[in-house]
């Protein structure tokens, strides 16, 4: 029986056999990792064709993760989006609170098939780390998570969750002390321990086959959303909107819509304090093609190929690279990418919380802010689906500081005034 939830790209358009999406992708890795990366590719190919793998993964996705995830229409939020209809794909309702679990369960099963006993992973916001620690607890695998020191501070709740689940969390102190440096450190670990360790990569970047494999594990997001929209709205959306850091939740939503030419695919990158300030992580908006973490893609870099330090209020988007398939979608014009500032994302976070009773992750709030823009552009006939990739519990400290929500903060009063402004916007 074909799987309902594990739905690898049936067309097999890209990547090519050597891992290229047009000019992007490939395998830029040290020789020491070539055998291990090739093994992942071979095992994944075998798993894709094995009904037993699909059955096991389906069972987990239904009975552990809780798939299919809901599709929620958000009319009170949509009043601020030019009156367009807005639906949220609720990946925040998955077990562990984000889309990350889709990929993690797939790769954890693969880890078992390869006979490896230890898993390492990088994490930015901690969502991939929590999902990985969860799967390792479930499967009895040893687990080490690398996380930039700055991110361990701003996502302290997720650090505690990972440790509660039995994972070792290593705070990485090199470089910008964020996601990029966590990946560097994970690669260093992998080179030394590759014989018994799988690097459970968390996004659609890295060397082939990771961009295609991670995409396939997340493809279910768009497949479900497409079916749910046809049932609920009776038509395909005008736009599918998602935030992009490395790009996994975005490609997961976009991929099933790629053949639907009328559906715009809109990725929302973190503009931080504004792209013009230089303090941002808007890789596709402001980067140039280069090689980082094993593949060719757009990269934030200087004129001599040194990677520049990214910035975003969102730890999960604070990354100077992007998955190669997004670079391919950008250059081909099939994908559109826009940059959303910290402030716009935080306003959208509060707006969704107060109009719909859903607190999104700061990452996902970038997509919500993008949807507000797109909705105003489309007008009242528009239909938008947004990937609500994660829930905001982990971000409450950042949000409380941003909005002054702690009792000790005199800004609570100012916040009340701002609420009135939000309500006023709709009129």
């Amino acid at each position: 029986m074909p799987s309902e939830f594990f739905i690898p790209d049936p067309e097999g358009r890209v990547p090519s056999a050597d891992g290229y999406f047009g000019a992007y992708g490939g395998k830029f890795i040290p020789e020491a990792l070539v055998a291990a990366v090739d093994e992942v590719a071979v095992e994944y190919d075998k798993a894709k064709g094995d009904p037993e793998f699909a059955r096991e993964l389906d069972d987990l996705l239904v009975n552990y993760t809780g798939r299919p995830s809901a599709l929620t229409e958000v009319p009170r939020f949509a009043e601020h989006a030019g009156g367009a209809r807005v639906f949220l794909k609720r990946e925040d309702l998955n077990h562990t609170g984000s889309h990350k679990i889709n990929n993690v369960l797939g790769q954890a099963l693969l880890t078992k098939r390869m006979g490896k006993t230890r898993v390492i992973a990088e994490t930015g916001a901690g969502q991939h780390g929590v999902a990985t620690a969860t799967a390792c607890a479930l499967f009895g695998l040893e687990c080490t998570i690398y996380m930039g020191e700055i991110d361990t501070q701003r996502q302290a709740l997720n650090v505690a969750r990972m440790r509660m689940l039995g994972a070792e969390v290593v705070a990485v102190k090199s470089g910008s002390r964020t996601l990029k440096d966590a990946i560097n450190e994970a690669f260093r670990d992998w080179v030394a321990n590759v014989d018994h360790t799988h690097y459970l990569f968390g996004t659609v970047a890295g060397p082939h086959p990771f961009p295609a494999m991670v995409r396939d594990f997340h493809r279910v997001i768009g497949v479900e959303a497409r079916r749910q929209l046809l049932e609920r709205a009776g038509r395909l959306p005008d736009a599918a909107v998602a935030c992009v850091g490395g790009g996994s939740n975005a490609i997961g939503l976009f991929h099933a819509f790629i053949p639907d030419e009328g559906v715009r695919l809109i990725g929302c990158e973190p503009a931080g304090h504004g792209v013009e300030t230089g303090e941002h992580a808007a890789t596709l908006t402001a980067g140039e093609p280069g090689v980082l973490h094993g593949s060719r893609s757009y990269v934030l870099q200087d004129d001599e190929g040194q990677i520049t330090e990214p910035y975003s209020i969102s730890a999960g988007l604070d990354y100077p690279g992007i998955g190669p398939e997004h670079s391919y979608l950008k250059d081909s014009g099939r994908g559109e990418y826009r940059a959303i500032t910290d402030d716009a994302a935080m306003q959208a976070l509060r707006l969704l919380s107060r109009t719909e009773g859903i607190i999104p992750a700061i990452e996902s709030a970038h997509a919500l802010a993008g949807a507000l823009e797109v909705g105003r552009e489309l007008g009242p006939d528009g239909l938008i689906v947004v990937n609500l990739s994660g829930r905001g519990d982990k971000d409450m400290d950042t949000a409380a500081r941003y909005f002054g929500l702690y009792d000790t903060d005199a800004e609570v009063a100012a916040d009340e005034a701002a609420t009135a402004e939000i309500e006023g916007d709709a009129k």
């Binding site: 830029f28 280069g290 870099q301 190929g305």
Partner: protein
């Protein structure tokens, strides 16, 4: 470019130097130091000191913001160099001055992105013109290296590939067929840095690499830091590559002069090691 004599890279000098060491019945000593560390001029002085102490070949590191194959010692040096504002022009000057002062082969070791961004043709032309002997690019596997090799060959630069204990025999054959200068055999699975011992994996890897039938010298790197280890590796390898131990001597030295003396002394110890004097 000023004249015909300067237009060709010194890949042949690298081969001749390694052949000469072999003719003497010994291994060659290959040292690594990053450019721009602690300063551009200080780095050039350090390379001269290492040659003076007895190194046969030097690899100049082109520092990168994201050195995923380097351990903490070289990361620290790269960081110092980058914060000091080192540019590719400085790396090229380092190669030029080190080669001109000594007449010895000088390679560049770096990651792929800086060269990709700078432009492969521009980089290979400038490196060759400066008297560089070639390049080691540890994150550019042989399958992705076609464009690089085309330009490197044109300019007379060697392309040194890394092999690892995990490399399968058929890959060793592909790599030795594509490479030139020598083969860099990683002694163990891991990043750069000094180790207590250099494992038995290294000897097996050298044996398997030679079994491909390659004529290239096989040199062993990763983990070697002292005379005894150099002597041990020299028993079975054509060259012994030492990096972090030199950088560490510089980092630990109280001042510039002491740092230069320390790396010269270490080169001397290792040079006697590669001559079998443990």
């Amino acid at each position: 470019m000023s004249g015909a004599a300067l237009t060709g890279g010194k890949g042949h000098l690298l081969s001749d130097t390694l052949a000469a060491a072999k003719a003497e019945g010994r291994s060659a000593l290959i040292a690594y130091l990053p450019a721009g560390f602690p300063t551009v001029d200080g780095g050039i002085e350090a390379i001269k000191a290492v040659f003076d102490g007895g190194a046969d070949v030097v690899e100049v590191g082109l520092p990168h913001s994201d050195p995923v194959l380097d351990g903490p010692v070289i990361q620290t040096a790269d960081d110092i160099a980058l914060r000091g504002g080192v540019r590719i022009a400085d790396v090229v000057r380092t190669v030029r001055e080190a080669h001109e002062a000594t007449g010895k082969p000088v390679l560049v070791m770096t990651y792929w992105n800086p060269i990709d961004r700078y432009g492969v043709e521009r980089f290979t032309a400038e490196l060759a013109e400066a008297g560089g002997a070639g390049c080691i690019l540890p994150d550019l596997p042989v399958q992705e290296s076609v464009l690089w090799r085309e330009h490197a060959d044109k300019h007379g630069l060697a392309t040194v590939f890394v092999v690892a204990p995990s490399s399968k025999d058929e890959r060793l054959a592909e790599i030795t067929a594509a490479g030139s200068g020598f083969v860099y055999a990683a002694s163990l699975m891991g990043v750069t840095g000094t180790r207590e011992s250099v494992g038995a994996q290294a000897e097996d890897l050298v044996r398997r690499t030679r079994a491909t039938g390659t004529d290239l010298p096989v040199c062993v790197g990763l983990g070697v830091s002292n005379r005894a280890q150099a002597a041990e590796v020299a028993r079975f390898a054509d060259g012994v590559i030492v990096g972090s131990a030199f950088v560490k001597r510089m980092l630990d030295a109280p001042d510039r002069v002491a740092g230069l003396a320390a790396v010269r002394e270490l080169a001397g110890e290792l040079a006697s090691g590669v001559r079998g004097q443990a």
